[in-house]
């Protein structure tokens, strides 16, 4: 009897498998759309407009009429247009959400971007240039800024931008040094007259401090005139026209102008006199600084770390390849060009051998090891004769792309020809011959940006940026991104 009951129970279980599936599997197709933007982040100067146009790819283009749009900024609804027209009213970073809404199914496809509202002098992500001019002896500061519009940067010139309650910037301008330690953007204007050299806040273009005030006991060295500067994480160094270096250790990174410069010059070499003619400023996060000792025709190295305001040392002793000009003693070779290279800690240099009149290009890597206060030097194998040197004149200006692949230089009887030399193929190309214009300066973009532009300053005051992307170089296309005239230009620096 019990067995019958068990069997009957088991059979009843099987009845569940005969359950009819009444589910509906007739899915309706969902219209799909892909959203993309040219940039992940956009910038707009405060008080100005920007239009952002998303690219929409509908799976079924005919369905595009079935969609509506929504822009939210900071979580709040802002617009229902397809394109965003936004006016930057408040400084800051805005998180922007763009939704494409299927009107039929209410399904949203969302993409987010950032729109940064900033000072017109400190527009994030947009290439800019500072220009220092001499107007009858007076220093005048200008800027060329850009804004991303319809897939390209549009440039605008901003004139006489120094902003300090109507006071004059100064006189007898010399040079600009742009630096951005710990995210605070400043510009050192080196000038000999007026209030002399000053640090400007790039957001407001107002004075932060006079250079002379930054020395110990506010007593700069007698007759001190800065010539160049290096700003690092752990130390800042000023190069004076007297060939001396003055340093300060930074006790707390991020706290600007809290530590004084030593008004005693750095001891460069206790065994002999030195005279520094050039410092090669590396990116702020790098701890190696290259010095050119003109008196002894050699390179010295300066390492900075959190414990000291910089330690100057002789170049490490290494074995050099044949014909490579030794860095610690260049003999009778003339240093023609010295600049920062890529990747980081690399440097490019050009020397001239007076014995044969030839020019040579060489690279090396210099790394500072703070843990034991020593340097490591690795000299490159690509020491080579420059086949383009026949175009060089006494007025030739140079700029070397940091990878070392291209050397741009000026030439011609009037210094009105711009050339490009490929160090890997030894091919020299005339980029452009300018009518009635002599080239005064060549400048590279900021070290934090890619090298796709070249700044050219002409003696007539024109400042030009050339598109030197790989595509333009390969196709030998000459393209000016902007051209503005600023009168007597003294210096130009990329932001």
């Amino acid at each position: 009897m019990k067995l019958k009951i068990y069997i009957l129970f088991l059979c009843s279980l099987f009845l569940y498998s005969c359950y009819e599936d009444k589910g509906n599997y007739a899915y309706a197709s969902i219209d799909e759309v892909d959203i993309s933007f040219d940039l992940a982040s956009y910038s707009v100067p405060i008080g100005e407009d920007i239009e952002i146009k998303p690219t929409l790819m509908f799976k079924n283009p005919a369905d595009s009429v079935n969609f509506s749009y929504e822009w939210r900024i900071g979580g709040e609804p802002y617009s229902t247009e397809r394109n965003l027209k936004y006016t930057g009213e408040v400084l800051g970073t805005n998180f922007v959400m763009f939704s494409v809404i299927n009107n039929r199914t209410k399904v949203r496809t969302i993409q987010e971007i950032i729109v940064q509202v900033s000072s017109p002098y400190n527009i994030a992500f947009a290439p800019s240039w500072f220009v220092l001019s001499n107007d009858g002896g007076k220093s005048v500061l200008h800027m060329i800024t850009s804004k991303y519009v319809d897939g390209e940067y549009q440039y605008v010139d901003r004139r006489d931008i120094y902003n300090n309650h109507g006071e004059e910037l100064g006189s007898d301008p010399v040079k600009l040094v742009y630096h951005a330690p710990s995210g605070s953007y400043e510009l050192l204007v080196i000038q000999r007259g007026g209030q002399k050299s000053v640090e400007l806040d790039v957001n407001s273009m107002s004075r932060v401090i006079r250079n002379d005030e930054e020395f110990f006991n506010e007593q700069p060295p007698v007759g001190f005139v800065p010539k160049d500067a290096y700003y690092g994480m752990y130390a800042d160094v000023l190069l004076g026209e007297d060939g001396n270096l003055y340093s300060r250790a930074i006790a707390n990174y991020g706290q600007l102008h809290q530590d004084p410069f030593n008004n005693n010059p750095m001891l460069l070499d206790p065994t002999k006199d030195s005279w520094i003619g050039q410092i090669v400023s590396t990116p702020a996060f790098a701890n190696e600084v290259l010095l050119y000792d003109e008196l002894n025709n050699r390179l010295l190295c300066l390492g900075t770390d959190f414990r000291s305001g910089g330690d100057v040392q002789e170049m490490p002793t290494v074995s050099y390849p044949a014909a490579y000009t030794p860095l610690n003693d260049m003999g009778n070779k003339e240093l023609v060009h010295l600049s920062v290279g890529e990747p980081m800690m690399n440097f490019n240099m050009i020397v001239k051998n007076p014995d044969d009149g030839k020019y040579y290009f060489q690279r090396f890597m210099l790394m500072y090891m703070a843990y034991n206060n020593t340097f490591m030097l690795i000299v490159g194998q690509n020491h080579k004769e420059l086949k383009c040197s026949s175009y060089f004149t006494s007025q030739t200006q140079m700029a070397i792309f940091r990878t070392g692949k291209y050397i741009f230089f000026s030439g011609g009887a009037s210094n009105n020809q711009l050339y490009r030399y490929d160090t890997s193929t030894d091919i020299t190309v005339l980029v452009k011959e300018f009518e009635d214009q002599s080239i005064q300066l060549l400048r590279l973009p900021n070290v934090m940006q890619d090298e796709s532009t070249l700044g050219v300053v002409f003696t007539n005051g024109d400042v030009v940026s050339l598109n030197m992307s790989s595509a333009n170089i390969n196709a030998n296309i000459y393209e000016e991104l902007f051209r503005y005239n600023f009168g007597k230009v003294v210096d130009v620096v990329a932001k």
Partner: protein, 229 residues
């Protein structure tokens, strides 16, 4: 029975209701030094150029701030003091400034009070005493002891922080330091300022006297820990 117990307990409760006259800490003013009496101040004329030196002694107020400058009384403890009278000047009155909780009194020391060549270290003990306006604060902070001499001792400012720049103190090093930098007192100097002057000293030795040795025969500039050029 239980009602009786309740009554007894209630009665005990009234025993705790005692009034105590606790005086408010209000009207009296107490003044004391900010440092302990055991914190001896070493003062050697070796470190000073001038013949009269004013030694600052910081004091603090306990109580409401004064609404006007108030006289404070200090007295030389003659029993504990060995310094001759000519060695110091103690004003008859001192003043605690109004509106402040801290102030500084100055004790003048006279180089003329020590005969040249005298290597004695004299004690000068100063006490705060009560007057009509101010009472003495905590006993441990009511006295300062100064040891005054003409001998060379390690200056108070040559502390652990200074050693990071100048290394261990030696008389020879300190003498050379003063000669090179023309500075003998780094009291109150910031770390950066100490670093700058230490570098000046070190760079001088490296360039002009690289073989100059310390008392133990070691090369002096090599034992200066300050880093940098």
């Amino acid at each position: 029975m239980k009602y009786f117990i309740y009554l007894v307990l209630i009665g005990f409760c009234f025993q705790s209701c005692e009034k105590q006259n606790i005086k408010p800490y209000g009207n009296d003013h107490y003044v004391q030094f900010t440092k302990l009496y055991t914190d001896t101040l070493n003062c050697s004329f070796f470190f000073y150029v001038d013949d009269q030196v004013d030694i600052p002694l910081e004091i603090k107020l306990i109580g409401d701030v004064f609404t006007e400058d108030t006289p404070l009384s200090l007295l030389v403890n003659e029993r504990e003091t060995t310094a001759p009278a000519a060695l110091f000047d103690l004003p008859e009155t001192f003043t605690f400034s109004k509106g402040q909780i801290k102030d500084t009194v100055y004790l003048r020391l006279n180089r003329a009070g020590i005969v040249e060549g005298d290597k004695t270290v004299y004690s000068l003990v100063v006490d705060i005493i009560n007057n009509d306006h101010i009472l003495v604060g905590e006993p441990n902070y009511s006295r300062r002891v100064l040891m005054v001499s003409n001998v060379v001792t390690k200056p108070d400012w040559w502390n652990a922080e200074t050693e990071k720049a100048l290394g261990k103190y030696t008389l020879k090093k300190f003498t050379k330091f003063k000669e090179v930098t023309q500075v003998g007192d780094l009291t109150g100097w910031t770390w950066n300022a100490k670093r700058i002057i230490a570098l000046e000293f070190k760079n001088y030795l490296r360039k002009y006297e690289p073989e100059y040795t310390d008392e133990d025969g070691s090369i002096m500039w090599k034992n200066l820990p300050v880093m940098g050029s």
